[in-house]
C-alpha cells in the first residue's frame, strides 16, 4: 500500500508500507547514518516519538534477534527505509524487521528516496513530519509532550549481586548502560526519573548514573535543583540527556542542533588522551559552549566535525558527563573506558561533600 511522508518544510515523499499504518502518525523526523544497528536504534528510548530514517539503504538483512534490544519495546513512531529485507538471514534472527514492527503496530515505509529525504532534513533542520495514507500534506505542530515520563520506569529495581552500588536514574536508559556497569562488577538500582533525592540517599549509593533519554532537557527544569543536590553528593557519570541535565543544573544552557548527531561515526577529541575516538551518538540538543564560562567544568570532549561540546568534567568533584554513548550499541566501543574512569572515582569513595 502506498503512503506519504509529509515533512514540515513542505515536501512529500511517497513510499510503500511494509508494516501497517492506521490513517496517520506524526513525530519529529531524524536520520541515523550507521550501517548496522537498526535493532538497537529502534529500541533505544531516546527515539521516543521520533520518525527514524535509516540512511543505509538495505535494512533488516540480519532480522531481529533476542539479544540486541536496548529496551523491552521499540520506541520510534515510524521507520523509513529504501529497502527492508523480507527475511532476517542471521542464525539469531527471530523475526523479520517488518514482522517485528507489525507486532508493535509501528509503520514501516519502504521504497523511499532516503538520500533525498536526508538532504531535506540536513537543509531544513530537524522538523515535524507526518506519515499518512493521504497524499495531502497536513503536518501537525510539535505537540507539547513529555516523552521522558512515557519511557522512564515506574518501579525501582536492583540488578547485580555485589560490588559498588550505583543508582541509575532512568530518563529512558539503554540496556547497554546497565550492562556496561554490571559487566564491571557493579550492583545497579534503576530508579524512576523523578525519584526524590531523599529516596536515593536512602539507597546508600556509591555513585550515580544519569541516563540518556528523549526530548528537550529543559522539559525537566523542575527537577534541576534535585539533580544538582544529588550530583554534588555522589560520584556521577552522566550520559546524553543526563549530560545536558548536569550542565543545566550548574546554570549552563542547552540549544537544539539543526539536525542532530545520529550515527556510529561521530569523531570526538579527548583532551586528556589527546586523540580522537569514534563514538555512537543520538541527540538533538547540545550544551552551549559559551554558557559553560561561569561553571566549574572543563570541556574535555569536543566534536571534531562541528566543534560542539561532547563532554565535561567538574574541576573538583567527581562528575564526568558525556554527550555521546560510551555504552555503544549500536556503534563503536572505543569509549568504554569512560565507565572505568567513573568507577575509579566510585572505588575511591569520594562521596562525602555535605
Amino acid at each position: 500500500m502506498k503512503a506519504y511522508l509529509h515533512v514540515a518544510s513542505g515536501k512529500t515523499f511517497s513510499g510503500e508500507l511494509a508494516a501497517p499504518l492506521e490513517e496517520k502518525v506524526s513525530g519529529e523526523i531524524v536520520f541515523f547514518t550507521g550501517m548496522t544497528g537498526y535493532q538497537e536504534v529502534l529500541t533505544d528510548p531516546s527515539y521516543k516519538n521520533q520518525i527514524i530514517v535509516f540512511t543505509y539503504p538495505l535494512i533488516g538483512n540480519y532480522g531481529i534477534n533476542e539479544d540486541d534490544f536496548e529496551s523491552k519495546r521499540p520506541h520510534v513512531e515510524a521507520v523509513v527505509v529504501y529497502e527492508a529485507s523480507r527475511e532476517g538471514f542471521h542464525y539469531g534472527a527471530k523475526y523479520s524487521l517488518a514482522e517485528y514492527l507489525q507486532h508493535w503496530n509501528i509503520p514501516l515505509l519502504t521504497h523511499v528516496d532516503t538520500r533525498a529525504l536526508v538532504k531535506e532534513i540536513r537543509t531544513a533542520g530537524t522538523m515535524m513530519a507526518e506519515l499518512s495514507l493521504s497524499p495531502i500534506p497536513a503536518v501537525a505542530d510539535e505537540e507539547a509532550v513529555f516523552p521522558v515520563r512515557a519511557v522512564s520506569t515506574k518501579t525501582i529495581e536492583t540488578y547485580g549481586e555485589a560490588g559498588p552500588h550505583l543508582v541509575l536514574i532512568d530518563f529512558g536508559y539503554k540496556k547497554s548502560i546497565l550492562q556496561s556497569l554490571l559487566a564491571r562488577g557493579c550492583r545497579v538500582t534503576v530508579v524512576p526519573h523523578d525519584t526524590a533525592p531523599e529516596a536515593i540517599d536512602a539507597l546508600k549509593p556509591d555513585g550515580l548514573v544519569l541516563s540518556n533519554g528523549p526530548g528537550d532537557p529543559k522539559q525537566l527544569s523542575p527537577q534541576l535543583p534535585a539533580i544538582r543536590r544529588l550530583i554534588d553528593r555522589y560520584p556521577t557519570l552522566a550520559i546524553c540527556l543526563g549530560h545536558q541535565l548536569v550542565a543545566l543544573a550548574y546554570g549552563a544552557d542547552t540549544e537544539k542542533l539543526r539536525f542532530g548527531h545520529r550515527g556510529a561515526n561521530q569523531p570526538v577529541w579527548d583532551a586528556v588522551k589527546q586523540n580522537v575516538m569514534m563514538t555512537s551518538q543520538n541527540h538533538s540538543y547540545v550544551v552551549k559552549e559559551g554558557s559553560l564560562v561561569g561553571a566549574p567544568f572543563d570541556i574535555r570532549f569536543i566534536n571534531v566535525n562541528d566543534g560542539s561540546v561532547e563532554g565535561i568534567v567538574h574541576r573538583h568533584k567527581p562528575i564526568l558527563s558525556v554527550q555521546y554513548h560510551p555504552e555503544a550499541h549500536p556503534g563503536p566501543h572505543d569509549t568504554g573506558y569512560i565507565f572505568d574512569e567513573f568507577l575509579q572515582t566510585v572505588f575511591k569513595g569520594e562521596n562525602v561533600y555535605a
Binding site: 550507521g34 550501517m35 540480519y62 539479544d67 536526508v118 569523531p267 586523540n275 556503534g331
Partner: protein, 1042 residues
Amino acid sequence: MPKDTSLQSILLIGSGPIVIGQAAEFDYSGTQACIALKEEGYRVILVNNNPATIMTDEVHADAVYFEPLTVEAVEAIIAKERPDGLLATFGGQTGLNMAFQLHEAGVLEKYGVRLLGTPIEAIKRGEDREAFRALMHELGEPVPESEIVTSVEEAVAFAEQIGFPIIIRPAYTLGGTGGGIAENMEQFLALVEKGLAESPIRQCLIERSVAGFKEIEYEVMRDQSNTCITVCNMENVDPVGIHTGDSIVVAPSQTLTDEEYQMLRSSAVKIISALGIIGGCNIQFALDPNSKQYYLIEVNPRVSRSSALASKATGYPIARIAAKLAVGYTLAELVNPVTKTTYASFEPALDYVVVKFPRLPFDKFPHADRKLGTQMKATGEVMAIDRNMERAFQKAVQSLEGKNNGLFGPELAAKANDELKQLLVDKDDRRFFAILELLRRGVAVEEIHEWTKIDRFFLASFERLVVLEKQAAATTIDTIDEPTFRFLKEKGFSDAFLAETWGVSELDVRKKRKELGITPSYKMVDTCAAEFHSETDYYYSTYFGEDERKKASGKEKVLIIGAGPIRIGQGIEFDYSSVHSVFALQKEGYETVMINNNPETVSTDFAVADRLYFEPLTLESVLDVIEAEQIKHVIVQFGGQTAINLVKGLEEAGVPLLGVTYDMIDQLEDRDRFYQLLEDLDIPHVPGLMANNAEELAAKAAEIGYPVLLRPSYVIGGRGMFIVHSEAQLAALIEQGELTYPILIDAYLDGKEAEADIATDGTDILLPTIIEHVEKAGVHSGDSYAWLPAQTLTDEEKAKIIDYAGRIAKKLGFKGIMNIQYVIADGNVYVLEVNPRASRTVPIVSKTTGVPLAQIATKLLLGKSLVDIVDDKARGLAVMPYAVLKYPVFSSHKLPGVDPMVGPEMKSTGEGISIAATKEEAAYKAFYPYLQKKANANEIYVIGNIDAELEAEMTAKQLTIVSDGSFADWVKRDTALAVINLGKEEDEANKRMTALSRQLLVFTERETLKLFLQALDVDHLDVQPIHGWLEKKKQAEQAVIA
C-alpha cells in the same frame, strides 16, 4: 601534530611490474603518496621499474629511477640521493620486503635514512607469522591453530596432530602464491613442498582451515596519537577458502549484526594499536556463520588492493591520508578531501552498496586450472555501486566485458545440474553464473548454500533476480507496462539483456525506455551518507530517486572512456594514457568527465577528472552519461579495445567522437579493407586470405604456403592466434575445434618485428621512436623483449616505417594517437596491423623520449595542428644516447596449466624496463634480479636441440649444458639456471610448466636466449634517474644540430 620539518627528501618504493596479486592498485596508492608528499614540499625520489605507471611521471616525483628493485640498486640510489626518509608501505609486498631487506642489510642505518610511517618492528610483527601469533596470543585475539614449518617432516607432524582440512600459506609471497587447502595427506605433501619452494625464506604457515566461515575485512588507519579509524569493512560473498582477490566482495558487510560488526572492529583497532602501525592496514577475519566465534586470518601492514577498493568504495583516499600520517600529521588535523567541510578522523558512512567482481584470465587460458583457492588468479577487478544489492551485482557483471548475456553465463545452459553443482563444489570461477543457472532450474537456495556456504542473504538476492528475469521474459517490448519496466531497470537489467529477451535491438529498448520516461538518476559518493554538504563530483547511477548532480562549470565538456578492468592484453598502460588525456584537457580549459569501473586505477581517483562516473563501460551506461551531461566531445582512443568496441554503437546513436570514425576502424580491422587500403597506398602487406570454414582454411593455407599465422578478426592480446607450420598441424588444430570462423590466414614471415606509436592531426605525424622487438615476428608484442630505439634497423628501413605511418594517417584523415606494427623481412617493410588508439607502449615511449604522446594527441583531437604544438626540429626520431630494454613479466606460475612458451597469444601480465648506456648493461639490468637469486646456478637444461653456435657461446660463458637425466630432479637443484626449448614441442609443455613452477626462466626463442647470454658478460650496474638520461638526450640533440 604538524608535519615533520626535519625531513627534506623522501624515497618512495614502487611495486614494480604488474603481476597477479600486485597490480594497478599500487600505482594508484603510489601516485597518491607522491602527490601528498609533493604538496607538503618534500623532494620525492621514486624507484620503480614499471614504466606503465602514472606515479613514474616526472610531474609526480622529483627524481624517477627505473631501476631494479633489489637491495644493491636501491642502495646505490640512496648513496646518490641521500634521502632523509624512506616510505615503503605504498609499493605492495615488494616495497615492504625491500624496506625489510634494506633494514636487515644495514643500509638504512648506514645512510641515516629514517623509515617513515609504520616502523620496521611493526612490519616484522605483521609479516613474521611467529611474532604475529605471539602478539595475538598476548592480546587474546584468536588465531586458528597453526605452526610455522620449514620442513616437510614438521608439517606432517602437525597434520597428524590436528587433522584435515589444513591451509598452507608460504611466508613472504605475493597473492598467497604457492598456498592452498589440503583435504588429505597427498594434497598436503604436494602443497607443503611447493610452498616451501616458493617462499624466499623457505617457510610456510600451516593452520587449521576455517574454510566456509564468513570472510570479513577491515581497512584500518592509525596515526601517531593512536587515533584509529576503520574506513570501511567488506564482506566476501565467497566464504573463507577463496583468496579475497578472487572473491566477489561487497561493502559494507551485509549480514553482520552491529554486535558482530563492532566486535571485529574493536579487534581490528586493538591489533593496529598493538602493532604500532602509522598509516593504513588491512585486517582479515573469519567469522563463524553460526556463532560469534571468530579468527584472525591476516594482517597487511600497508596499503593494499583492498585499501584501493575501500578508497573508491567510500571516497576516503586511504593512501593519500596514510602518506600524510607518515610525515607526522594526525587524522584530526587533516581535512576530509571529499566533503572539504569535515575531517579525516571519522569513519565513512555509506548509503549505497558496493560490489567488486574479480577479472579472471581464463578467457585467455581456457586450459588453465579454473579452480579458485588461496592462490590468487585474478588479473584485475571491477567495482559497481548502487542503492540495491541486485543492481550492484548486475552492474559489476556488466563491467566484466565477458561473453555472458545478462546473468546467463556462456555455455552453462548446456550443462547438466550435476555439472553445474560440480563447478560450485570445485569453486570454479564460473560459480556465480552456475548458481544463477541452478536457481533458474528451480534448485533450492538451501541446497546451493550447502554446496557453497554462501550466505543465504546473497543467494536470496540472486534468486530475486531469477524471478525478475522470468518476469521480463513474460513480457514483450510492446506489452511491458511502465512500473514493471521501471522496476526491472531499478534491479539492473540492461537494455542489451532486455533486447535479447524481447528479440529487438538495444536501441529499440532504449527508445521505448526513454518514451516511458525511465532514465537513471545519478547520486553522489560523499563519505557521509549526505549528513554533510560535499564538494566532490563522484557519481553512480541508480534508477530510483532524484538526480542530485551539481551544476556543471559551464566549460565545454569532454568525456574520456576508460579501459575497464586490468586483463591480459589490456593493462595499466591504458590508464596511464587516459589520465594523461585528462591532464591535457584540463590544461586546455575543458571540463573532464571520466567513466570507468576499475577501482584499482588512478583514473578512478575522484581527484583526477572534474567529474567521475563509476559505471559499466557498456553502450547503455556510456550513452546515459553522455545524455545526462550533454556531452559534445567523446574521446575513445585511450580506453583500449574496450572503448574502441563502443565506437560503432555510439556512432549509431549519433554521438560525435573525436578523431576517429567507425569507418576508419573498420578499414583497419576488416582484413580485406585493410589490405585494400595498404595496396592503395603502395605499402607492402603480408599476403593474407580469409576462410569461412575448415575446407576453405586448408585450401587457402596451402595457397599462401606454410608457415601461416591464423587469427580471428577483432582481437586484442592475440586471443585465438596460432602459427601453423604444416598441413598436419593445421589438421590437428581443426580436429581440436580450437578455431572460430571467419578466420584470417596470413603468411608467417620469419622477420624482425617493430612498432611505433604516433600522434597525428591527419596531415603530419609525430613518431618519437621506433621500437624493435628482440624476438622475431610471431611472438606477441606484449610478450616480447623490445629495444627503444630500434637497434638493428637500417636507415632505409626506418625511413620506410616513418613514411608508411605518415601515408596511413593522412589517407585515413585520422586524428589523435595510433600504433602501427611492422615486419621487416627479405629487405621489405610490411605493415602488419594498425591500432587506432593508444597502445601498450605509449607510456614507455613518452617516458624514455620525453615526448608526452597522449597529451599531444589529446590536443590534436581538440583540433590543434601538429605544426603548432611541436617544433619542426622535434618531430624527427629522438636521438637517444642510451639503450632502453622493455621486458615482459609473466604471472604464469600462479596459473597452473599455462604453458610458458611465448607465441602469438599474449600471456604476460606486466612489463619492466631497464635503461643503460649500452645494450649489454640494459640486458644485465633486466635479468639481474633473477641472476642474483641464482648466484650458484650455472646449468642450462636443453630440451630438444640447439645449434653449435649457441652451444659454443654457452660453454664460453662457463655454463654447463644438461640434456639428459631426470628433469624433475634437475629443476630442484641449486645449480639449475634456466631451461631452453627452442623446438617448442607441444609434448614438452609439461617440462616447461614444471620449470616454471620452480620459477626457472624458460627460453623458447633463440633471440631471448641470446639476450640473456649477453647479460651474463656484465657485472656492474649504474643507477641514473630518467631526467639524467633525458639530459644526455638533449645534449646529444644539440650536438647533432650544431
